[in-house]
């Protein structure tokens, strides 16, 4: 990561915490102490430890962990589950503990004035011994619990902060908060590390836990404002989802890829754009999974790898469906052109789903990705979380410059729109609607391309049928209006004439 140094700007030190450095404008202020405050269970300790682990594994920078609460043995064990072998780093002289956790014997009596000279001497010695450039202290509240005189502790922690500054190390101090939205930290600790404050939250939102990180202030340097969701992953630790910090690079690629259906390609003006996101919206049974299958097959025919993330149907079912339309998923898989991942939406939070999808994309490096259906994920989190998830996924896919196809199920059979549509229609490049048309006592189906960014496309609604070769798109619905609104109405030729006169040319 780069650390921008512009006139008078504080230099940044990349933490190595994925996504966080983007949110923090490059990392933590270098050579300063940053307060990381959060309620119980807000992943403060993981954040502090990961700041050191990131330094060790990514930048070759040794770190000192001063623990006031948990024993080093507990921390080693906890961090091992995240994939970090602290004991090995200790042997290599890249990690050192200062064990300031309460001794097992009874708390010492106070016989007169005291200071925390022992803590300061031990911290300095550990930093010098391994040449540490990073220090984590976890957590400040436990120091106040160990010593009865809060005034002395506050004063001594101020001395610790001065020492760290003098040593030139970048430090993270964690502190407890009682409430998610309230004073920064207990005991007024922000008074002595006032310059840089990060808040970690763990909020109950619609019966689900949602973690966020917010850079409250970085004195003299820039950072992103507001809360960013994050998750704690086994083997990775804290992963921040930088959302609005992502830049939406607009690609004007004119390269087209086939949707897998020649007639649909034609309707789109020659196929989908390679680096675009297409949303297919329709009620249940309109053929969304079929379009997805054709999209996969279209990729396979062109020798492109496709990642299919299915949240509604099982693997067996998808294989059977594909076979019934003459598409052989097993053969695509064997040829390495298809990776099919089926999951229940409820198995993970949206943040975890997003990170898993990113991992799959990074691993498989497909040219196409299909999500069937995106709307199945709506119920996993709050609306806000869903929207953030969709934005995160969309921008990630766009960065990869691959073609994406999402499906959304509309709640009503006729017309209507889904939450998914409402939230992502402005983000997607193209929207294809699949709609039931109730005519003369018969359910028929119609397809239309509602939007095609950067290209001309057909504006008519065509009828289609589904048979054993897939989706057969036919002629336009002549003399019918109100299909999209869910109230198809056959209009007489006379009325059509009148409409044409009203709108100039009401046809294509």
């Amino acid at each position: 990561m780069t650390a921008p140094v512009e006139g008078g700007q504080v230099e940044k030190l990349a933490t190595g915490i994925e996504g966080f450095d983007l949110v923090a404008g490059g990392g933590l202020p270098k050579g300063r102490t940053t307060l990381v405050a959060g309620t119980a269970g807000s992943a403060k300790t993981v954040f502090a430890a990961q700041f050191l682990a990131g330094g060790i594994t990514q930048f070759g920078e040794p770190g000192v962990f001063v623990t006031f609460e948990e024993s080093p043995a507990d921390i080693r064990r906890n961090l091992r589950s995240l994939g970090w072998d602290v004991a090995a780093w200790e042997r290599e002289g890249r990690w050192a503990f200062v064990d300031a956790s309460p001794a097992p014997d009874e708390p010492p009596g106070v016989t007169g004035t005291y200071d925390l000279g022992g803590l300061i001497a031990r911290t300095e010695a550990a930093v010098r011994r391994i040449g540490a450039t990073r220090v984590a202290m976890d957590s400040i509240g436990a120091v106040f619990a160990q010593f009865p005189d809060a005034g002395v502790v506050r004063h001594e922690l101020f001395r610790v902060a001065s020492l760290l500054r003098a040593l030139g190390v970048t430090a993270v101090l964690t502190a407890e908060r009682l409430h998610e939205y309230g004073e920064v930290a207990r005991y007024g600790v922000e008074e002595f590390v006032a310059d840089n404050v990060i808040l970690l939250r763990n909020v109950l939102e619609e019966a689900r836990r949602r973690r966020t990180v917010e850079v409250l202030k970085f004195r003299g340097t820039v950072h992103q404002k507001g809360e960013f969701p994050f998750t704690v992953m086994p083997g990775e630790g804290v992963v921040v989802i930088p959302l609005s910090a992502l830049q939406l690079r607009q690609h004007s690629s004119a390269v087209r890829v086939s949707s897998g259906n020649a007639a649909l390609d034609e309707m789109c003006g020659g196929g989908f754009f390679r680096d675009s996101i297409v949303l297919v919206s329709g009620a249940t049974g309109t053929g969304k999974t079929l379009l997805t299958t054709e999209f996969v097959a279209g990729g396979a025919a062109a020798g492109e790898r496709c990642l299919l993330l299915a949240f509604e149907e099982s693997r067996e079912q998808l294989f059977r469906n594909a076979a019934s339309w003459g598409r052989d998923f097993a053969a695509y898989e064997a040829a390495g052109l298809l990776r099919l991942v089926c999951e229940y939406p409820e198995t993970a939070s949206l943040e975890d789903h997003l990170i898993r999808m990113k991992q799959l994309l990074a691993e498989f490096r497909p040219q196409r990705v299909a999500v069937d259906s995106l709307s199945a994920l709506e119920r996993v989190g709050s609306l806000k979380a869903f929207r953030e998830f969709v934005i995160g996924l969309t921008s990630f896919i766009k960065h990869q410059e691959i073609a994406g196809l999402f499906t959304a199920t509309t709640p009503r059979l006729m017309g209507g729109e889904s939450v998914t549509e409402e939230h992502i229609s402005t983000i997607t490049d193209s929207i294809i609607l699949l709609r039931y048309v109730d005519m003369f006592g018969e359910m028929r189906r119609g397809v239309t391309v509602l939007k095609m960014r950067g290209s001309a496309h057909e504006k008519v609604i065509r009828e289609y049928r589904i048979d054993d070769s897939g989706m057969r798109i036919g002629r336009t619905f002549a003399n019918v209006s109100g299909i999209l609104a869910g109230h198809p109405r056959v209009t007489t030729p006379g009325e059509l004439e009148r409409l044409r006169e009203l709108f100039g040319d009401a046809g294509a």
């Binding site: 064990d99 001794a103 010492p108 106070v110 016989t111 000279g117 022992g118 803590l119 300061i120 031990r122």
Partner: protein, 94 residues
């Protein structure tokens, strides 16, 4: 006859360290009747000893013998608190 083994941890020759040393001398002479062994560790010179003993506050006085280990913090000016904290039996009464 094994008496007391005490270690006083100080951080440099600060006023409170000086007070602690003077108070400790007085306690040894008055309350321990020669049955003691005292060492003084300056944590700024020997931080490793402080690490091993997990000393945070200075001055800290640790009673290493007889077991169990007991410790008090502060400059030892509160005589009664020292006796209670280190569980030093007032000898003359017995």
């Amino acid at each position: 006859m094994p008496g007391y083994r005490l270690t006083l941890y100080i951080a440099g020759r600060t006023p409170s360290a000086e007070r602690a040393l003077a108070n400790l001398q007085r306690i040894c002479a008055k309350d321990l009747h020669g049955q003691y062994e005292v060492s003084v560790v300056d944590v700024t010179e020997d931080p490793q000893r402080a690490e091993q003993a997990r000393v945070l506050a200075t001055p800290t006085l640790v009673r290493e013998l007889p077991p169990p280990i007991r410790r008090v913090i502060g400059d030892l000016s509160d005589h009664a608190a020292v006796l209670v904290g280190l569980n030093l039996a007032p000898v003359e009464g017995a």
